[in-house]
Amino acid sequence: GQQLNQSPQSMFIQEGEDVSMNCTSSSIFNTWLWYKQDPGEGPVLLIALYKAGELTSNGRLTAQFGITRKDSFLNISASIPSDVGIYFCAGQTISSNAGGTSYGKLTFGQGTILTVHP
């Protein structure tokens, strides 16, 4: 199946530093998404990107949908302790089942574990 390569696998940074992580794929995706998983919780959507080349910001987060539709990056500026967690990229393709119903299917990256030292 499709695979996403997410890097880095882990990051240890000081509070206030900027963070950058990215995902690449050999396949094209219609949508790129970034999720965050806090310790002991399920992942929560941070940012969604729907057009190639799109650059989107959400507070201190900035993400881009690569022009080739095969990659995306997420930047976090001025990190704070509550940024700690696992960040997942996800690519979505639209498929159809045997009954002809279309649906979106997500493929997730391996995750980036972020640790922020106060």
Binding site: T31, G42, V44, F88, N97, Y103, G104, K105, F108, Q110
Partner: protein, 115 residues
């Protein structure tokens, strides 16, 4: 707020046991999903359902089955648990208008250990 509730946060089972993981959502979502989360592998889709009594295989369905008898409930079944099924299991749901946006609402997860 959307609430996805997984019945057990932690389970310990023995090899060969039948295991049921239950998931309930309270927002009348049509779409429900079961993922497995392992370090270094991310989230992998096991099964999903777009309607009651309907199911589709994901990327790693082997050794698992699912049941969706009611809209709000989606169960994952391990017919005969094996040690390689030790993992974190995440349930998620979404309404049909989110099917193309990629936004899923996840439960807190069920950590299963098979001895």
């Amino acid at each position: 707020d959307v609430k996805v509730t997984q019945s057990s946060r932690y389970l310990v089972k023995r090899t060969g046991e039948k295991v049921f993981l239950e998931c309930v959502q309270d927002m009348d979502h049509e779409n429900m999903f079961w993922y497995r989360q392992d370090p270094g592998l991310g989230l992998r889709l096991i099964y999903f359902s777009y309607d009651v009594k309907m199911k589709e295989k994901g990327d790693i369905p082997e050794g698992y089955s699912v049941s969706r008898e009611k809209k709000e409930r989606f169960s994952l079944i391990l017919e005969s648990a094996s040690t390689n099924q030790t993992s974190m299991y995440l349930c998620a749901s979404s309404p049909p208008d989110r099917a193309y946006t990629g936004e899923l609402f996840f439960g807190e997860g069920s950590r299963l250990t098979v001895l």
